[in-house]
Symmetry: C2
């Protein structure tokens, strides 16, 4: 919660703010709970919970779902859950060859997902931002048509974003440098006070897996996504750990083999060169390495086909990538201690074949694996993970600390 690491004085309003989040959090964890249940769970008095719930209902965050179906005697509680007509998160993803937008409601449901293909590498920054503006306008219209408010805009970009400012420092695959995406989006759309979050695509994908993924109770993990580069999102205690300035997760250039092939970064044997999508496809013989890269999805399909058919070359290639990945990831795990690795991006589809050699390296190299094995999981969300995460991040901010949003909705 924001109110504590910031050295701000606390007053009664702070208490209410904290407890609002507490109540909301209880409902998030156990949807359908009654006011009395929330009181029991949080330790707050019933009177307090009633007062807070009323406020959250008035703001459109919570909704009463009618009397609970419960056996035993006594009055039935009125169920509470996150309101599907409450604020929606508007997510945008600026991909290398597409632009995606979507709306996500408080229950995690995705609406109005739109994906617009188009090479963003070839166009100028201004041109791409104009596209983004149009896409976001359309998404706002979607929200209006559905009659729901937009709680904020989340923008996923394939590059390094400075956490404090929202400044995109560099996006290699887009050819961008020092673009103030947050300010540009704000200015072009005239969003007023609406929150605009800008973050790394891999980080948002990790968060999506945390919030909407298929692994319950997953709170601590390293989400490794193999795309053109290799990005990692570190989630600790249900929170993304971005490092000091937000440039963390760049594991693509961990040294895996000092005498390996040269990398664009100048070093040799970087993880990206030995376990990146491109290398796997080449080593598997799926792609000849010359000419423009065909749509990666198609190539990946072919690779999966060959793996399923137990093609020796493909199997060897993926096994090798798993080994390299194991060496690189174990370095990170030893440094930051996370018990789980989630394979995302294109790795998700290769999980079955990557896992053996990856797990083997992790078992050997991670110090704590001796008494607590590193768990390797496949991501459950597909390519939409990043947009969903971007939209979800907006909602997460509201759920973690609902008072600012409530204040904008309610008078006073």
């Amino acid at each position: 919660m924001a109110l504590v690491n910031q050295p701000r004085p606390a007053g009664q309003h702070t208490v209410r703010r904290h407890n609002s989040a507490l109540v909301l959090g209880a409902v998030v964890e156990s949807p359908g709970m009654s006011r009395a249940g929330v009181a029991a769970r949080t330790g707050l008095a019933k009177a307090t919970v009633s007062s807070l719930v009323d406020r959250l209902v008035a703001a459109g965050l919570l909704a009463e779902t009618g009397p609970q179906a419960r056996s035993g005697r006594g009055r039935r509680g009125t169920g509470l859950s996150l309101s599907p007509s409450g604020p929606h998160g508007l997510g945008v993803e600026i991909g290398v060859d597409y632009l995606a937008t979507c709306l996500v409601d408080l229950t995690g449901e995705v609406h109005a997902l739109r994906i617009r293909p188009g090479d963003n590498r070839a166009a100028s920054v201004a041109r791409v931002l104009a596209r983004v503006t149009r896409a976001v306008r359309t998404a706002f219209a979607d929200a209006q048509r559905r009659g729901v408010p937009v709680g904020g805009v989340g923008v996923a970009v394939p590059g390094l974003v400075e956490a404090a400012t929202g400044l995109l420092r560099v996006a290699p695959n887009l050819g961008w440098r020092d673009v103030d995406v947050r300010a540009e989006v704000r200015r072009r759309l005239g969003l007023g006070d609406l929150p605009v979050l800008v973050g790394n695509e891999a980080d948002f994908a990790a968060l999506a897996e945390l919030w909407c993924g298929g692994h319950p109770d997953l709170r601590d993990f390293l989400h490794v996504s193999g795309e053109i580069g290799i990005g990692a999102g570190l989630v600790v205690d249900g929170t993304l750990f971005r490092g000091v300035r937000g440039f963390g997760g760049e594991i693509g250039h961990v040294c895996v083999d000092p005498v390996g092939p040269e990398c664009a970064c100048g070093a040799r044997g970087c993880l990206e060169r030995l376990a990146g999508q491109e290398w796997i496809l080449r080593a598997a013989g799926v792609w000849d390495g010359v000419g423009p890269l065909r749509p990666p999805a198609a190539l990946l399909d072919e690779l999966v086909d060959r793996l399923t058919a137990e093609d020796g070359r493909a199997l060897r290639a993926v096994r090798g990538a798993g080994r390299s990945l194991g060496i690189g990831v174990s370095a990170v795990l030893n440094a930051v201690d996370v018990p789980t690795v989630v394979l995302g991006g294109s790795y998700a589809r290769l999980e079955r074949w990557l896992r053996p050699s990856l797990q083997n390296e992790l078992d050997r190299r991670v110090v704590s694996a001796a008494w607590s094995r590193v768990e390797v999981l496949g991501a459950t969300l597909g390519t939409e993970a990043a947009v969903r995460g971007a939209a979800g991040a907006v909602l997460h901010e509201i759920i973690i600390d609902p008072d600012p949003y409530v204040s904008t909705v309610l008078p006073g």
Copy 2:
């Protein structure tokens, strides 16, 4: 602050607790400040500050240092600072070949530092713990003689400690496994409710550098200490980042060269084998690599002598170590984004000679270095860093959240 990540209901007492920490924190950052100054700085009302300060003074945490010497008219404020007779932290370090204890007061001053040589590798766990017990008893007596209370005990151990439980999972150089150091110390000393913290030696050393080191405004860094192994302590935003369970910082086995020499861990080319103390001393020709290792301090002296004399072999050895360190550390920095590296342990003395090759690798390999160079600093505390950190950690807990301590001292 503890009260927030834990989903506990907040009440008026929570506000007071938070603001107590706020006031204390303001005085820590600007010793000698007056009540009015604290009010201005924190944003609290003067009345509130007065009330809180009175409480903290009564508990012995703050002390009035008399009227401020200040020019200009108006009544002079009464200076406030951390009380040197307030609670002291009692630090213990269980080293491989020594046992150290000390007392640290709230101002960071070290008292009653005692170092007892003795091989803890040869003795049984119970025997070593008995030694620890005696040493701590003596330190308690030191405190009593000085007439100051002990706020808690911090224990530094050369191994992996599970954060949640204080369980020492493994200490390779001590030959320990699964020792509940916290419970043992509690039981043997009958400490009642007194806080007992157990942590990794490298982590505590990093914290000592943060709290008492010679680099002001150092809040985010990776503290790398070269001893028998290579340990790292990651400090982000003035807080140690231990990872989920506390096993972070094990960078000794990052892969630096897959075709390098074999390591005890089974892998090849681990950082520890290429930049560890032992390897440097051997490559420099200071140690022949056979027979029992002489006291490392003496060997290190010799190495520094040769480096000062510009001995080619020694220079090459250290340069190589710096390069390896750079490869390993850059992997960590890319993953977690920290702008500064502090060279501690035996590396501190070699900083001058390690730095060029280390910095060179970091410049090349750390992605964010392109627009923000990684800073390399030498640690300013010597071998006592870990004990001081252990003692300091106890005090840090009190300063971060003084209310629990205040409650034990004051009635009500």
